[in-house]
Symmetry: C2
Subunit: 230 residues, 2 copies
């Protein structure tokens, strides 16, 4: 589980290598806290970056799209780069130059394959829903064959990866600490708000247990991380 | 300002075109609410997606990195794709298949140039700091020439763009609305936390006026949007 990915020019962090990690535990910790990734691919020499929701199983990550999606078409059989990023804090330094941000990010490299078999597709989509809302599979109406045929699922085996994390807060030049300038960090967190029921759902209908962890003011990545551990 | 970008195969939204917009007002509205982007570029045929902070001035967006950054080196003179994404809500439908997310995103296409002139670099960095913390320039120690020389700034003229927004909430199949399954939306927002002063800053030191908009529980993109308008 926790062995390191191989490191070469493709995934080596050149800038501030002290912030980098290449072991699976560090990479998975960031992946398992996230929902949205940015998929990078090349079409006729032009790079594209498409945001999408993903989920992880072992050393593979998955995402889906329409069966007609240009993105899915382009990534299958290709080398792609997938990046997941959290903005964790705004850092105000005493010097203009050292204003910064705290963050967590991973870059993943690997090849994509298409999940074609209908039962594999169903299993992958089930895993995605369970990862987000454990137990939801037992309540919501299952997908039909016709529905599953309208989507494509890409699976990328993580061949190489790097995690890069800054949690340093303020780092000023030694001589600047004496300046009479406020410096500090403003945390940034993705919070959940109050669930809004769809039209036709009575206001007396209780919220289902599968979203009990998504309580108002909870931090989204804490919920996702706890789900991944369970 | 509000005229539309040209549309061709590169920036046309093929999936769910009803969610797409190509006018500058729609694209700028999303850009001006954001801080982090994902820059896509190609090196020896391999795509890379690097997260970074950006700022906009007119039809150009800027970001910076170390003078030795592989990313900056690779984007200068090249066609790149820059994507900005907000996750706005988790959508639980009555059917498994129609679980979704609400989001706002933009994809930008264009060529990058390097800001080399030292006074232009300083002006760009000043604009970035002012965009985030209006008035901060008057308090924090200005950057030295030596500091400015250690960074590179990339400027991309937005040649083409597309915005894609989903705010639909739950969309189920007509026959599924009768199912006894809770459906609804859980909002997701990037909130600011309580500022933490750096070591050496007395707890009686008042917070500076330039971060008064960043009050605890404020939504980050609302602050950024208001700053951009001012």
């Amino acid at each position: 589980m926790s062995e390191a990915y191989s490191v070469d020019a493709r995934n080596r962090v050149r800038r501030r290598p002290q912030r980098a990690a290449y072991d699976r535990a560090s990479v998975y910790a960031i992946l398992d806290a996230g929902l949205m990734c940015h998929v990078g691919y090349v079409l006729d020499g032009q790079p594209f970056v498409t945001p999408t929701a993903y989920w992880r199983h072992g050393d593979r990550i998955f995402w889906h799209g329409s069966a007609a999606s240009r993105m899915i078409e382009s990534v299958i059989g290709a080398n792609v780069c997938v990046t997941v990023t959290f903005l964790d804090g705004l850092v105000l330094a005493r010097s203009q130059f050292h204003h910064s941000i705290d963050y967590r990010s991973v870059m993943l490299f690997g090849r994509c394959e298409l999940i074609e078999d209908l039962s594999e597709k169903k299993a992958a989509m089930d895993a995605f829903l369970e990862r987000l809302y454990p137990g939801r599979l037992n309540h919501a109406r299952p997908a039909t064959e016709r529905e599953l045929k309208t989507i494509s699922i890409a699976a990328m085996t993580i061949d190489q990866a790097s995690a890069k994390v800054r949690v340093a807060g303020v780092v000023d030049e030694p001589e600047d600490y004496a300046l009479p300038v406020w410096a500090g960090t403003i945390p940034v967190r993705q919070h959940l708000g109050t669930p809004t029921a769809d039209k036709g759902i009575g206001s007396d209908t209780p919220l289902p247990p599968e979203i009990s962890a998504y309580a108002p003011n909870t931090i989204l990545d804490a919920v996702l991380k706890a789900n991944a551990k369970a």
